[in-house]
């Protein structure tokens, strides 16, 4: 019953979030700040993760290619497919759910327990729209950019690993990357990314906004936000894959 109650409360919250901002000028300023916090400040971790994940995917593929019938360009092909289909949109979102989700839940949760949200409400500000809408907009705008960035870096990471280990040549790797390329897979990755961005920010905001109690409860909300966002991302991943790829 509590789960159903929370789901209902979540959708009611969304209804309030998507109301017209009090002032568009303030919304734009907050949007830019959130793009910096949610997007630009996440670029270092995205860079490190993408390069190393790409490198590991290509090395593992090379290590498992026992059959001489498998062409060498399979390494590039597998690296590209894994990165576009799963790593950059899904795994990266799961990791960002940890970083961004906990940040959002603790920020809004702290505002709740220190009565800053009550202060906004008594001033007549729609606190949900003011606090959450710019975060959702920033994530939806910036996550696709991060995904494209991550795909590029992963492929570079794979190339560095393969060439520096003398497992293949640059030409063969690039040939693999270009083989059987399906452009719509990029669309699939971007659609997933947008959905996951929305899931991470809205669920984390939900847990932060409805925090009750003190500092311990802020920590608890933060953990719940990450756990629930991750589960919802995996469920959405399954259904989106069924709907788009099959």
């Amino acid at each position: 019953m509590k789960v159903l109650g929370n789901i209902g409360k979540y959708f009611l919250m969304l209804n309030i979030i998507f109301s017209k901002p009090e002032k568009w000028r303030i919304f734009r300023v907050r949007l830019m700040n959130e793009i910096e916090t949610i997007g630009i400040k996440s670029l270092p971790i995205v860079t490190i993760l993408s390069v190393f994940m790409g490198a590991v995917i290509s090395l593992q593929t090379a290590a498992n290619m026992d059959s001489p019938l498998l062409p060498e360009y399979t390494i590039g092909f597998i690296t590209r497919s894994s990165t576009i289909l799963e790593f950059s949109p899904t795994i990266l979102s799961l990791i960002l759910a940890g970083k961004i989700g906990s940040n959002i839940a603790s920020e809004i949760g702290t505002m709740r327990v220190t009565e800053q949200i009550d202060a906004l409400e008594t001033m007549g500000v729609n606190s949900l729209s003011y606090l959450v809408l710019p975060k959702i907009a920033a994530a939806i705008l910036f996550f696709p950019i991060m995904t494209i960035f991550s795909i590029g870096l992963s492929l570079i990471g794979g190339w560095i690993a393969i060439v520096s280990s003398n497992l293949s040549t640059t030409e063969t790797y690039i040939f693999g990357l270009r083989s059987f390329f399906v452009l719509s897979n990029i669309g699939y990755a971007l659609i997933k990314t947008v959905v996951f961005a929305f899931v991470i920010v809205s669920i984390s905001s939900f847990y932060g906004y409805y925090t009750k109690g003190g500092a311990l409860d802020v920590g608890r909300s933060s953990t719940q936000a990450v756990v629930i966002s991750s589960i919802v991302i995996l469920i959405c991943n399954f259904f989106l894959t069924q709907m788009i790829l099959l």
Partner: protein, 254 residues
């Protein structure tokens, strides 16, 4: 004037406010007092709409707050200034930005005009020149004064103060009390103060409401509260040894 009529509020099976009625007059410091857990803060939050009342009416100068939709409520809230127990300053903003926040949100003032207003409010609470400090860099008393400056920035018609003296030393408490009193008389606003502090009650309480077990147990002014023979009020007012001594001095006509 703010009026509450027969309001009831419960959290689950726990009834907090029971058929409570009260009037808070304009141009006066109206104090809500009572022991912890009797429903003072819940009453204040019901009045400003942070809690929904289960039954009853809350009206602001005849406007029935309980019947208004969210948009209309926000319009009334723009006329409310509130000082929270923990100040509730936005910790990512400077003092100046905190005070200018409601002006940015709800007025079309130029930046220069907003800055002038912020400086005026800061000057009014004796904090001129503290514009660029962050709330974390300010003492508890300063934070309360900044919160008062933010609360009066929009020239409110109603001012709510939730335990304005909590965590402050007696001297700073008097400064805050005097500030609330002066602002109330100067701008002729309806001020509602929730307090435990008997010193504040005696200093600034024009109208006093004593809440006990979620009900308006007693109401009167600062002169009548020290003369009342109501047992619950006597227990509350003279709970401290200091007030007990004052009572015995009064009884002995010393």
């Amino acid at each position: 004037m703010i009026e509450v009529k027969n309001i009831n509020k419960a959290f689950g099976s726990n009834k907090i406010l029971k058929n409570l009625s009260a009037k808070f007059e304009t141009g006066k410091v109206n104090m809500i007092i009572g022991q912890s857990g009797q429903g003072k803060s819940v009453l204040a939050k019901c009045i400003v709409g942070l809690h929904e009342v289960d039954e009853g009416i809350v009206s602001y100068d005849g406007r029935n707050f309980s019947e208004l939709d969210n948009f209309q409520r926000r319009e009334i809230r723009k006329e409310i200034g509130m000082l929270f127990q923990g100040s509730a300053l936005f910790d990512s903003m400077t003092v100046e930005e905190n005070i200018m926040f409601p002006l940015k949100m709800f007025t079309d003032m130029s930046k220069k005009q907003m800055l002038e207003r912020a400086n005026f409010c800061l000057d009014r609470v004796n904090l001129s020149g503290k514009n660029k400090l962050l709330p974390a860099e300010c003492s508890g008393g300063m934070q309360k004064r900044i919160a008062i400056a933010r609360a009066i920035a929009m020239k409110p018609k109603y001012l709510f103060c939730d335990e304005p003296n909590s965590g402050l030393d007696p001297k700073t408490s008097i400064v805050i009390d005097n500030l609330i009193k002066e602002i109330t008389y100067e701008y002729n606003i309806t001020t509602v103060v929730i307090s435990h502090d008997m010193n504040s009650v005696i200093e600034i309480g024009d109208n006093i409401i004593f809440i006990h077990e979620g009900q308006n147990w007693w109401s009167g002014d600062r002169n009548s509260i020290i003369k009342t023979d109501n047992k619950e009020i006597i227990d509350f007012v003279y709970a401290s040894e200091f007030m007990g001594r004052i009572k015995s001095l009064m009884q002995n006509n010393i």
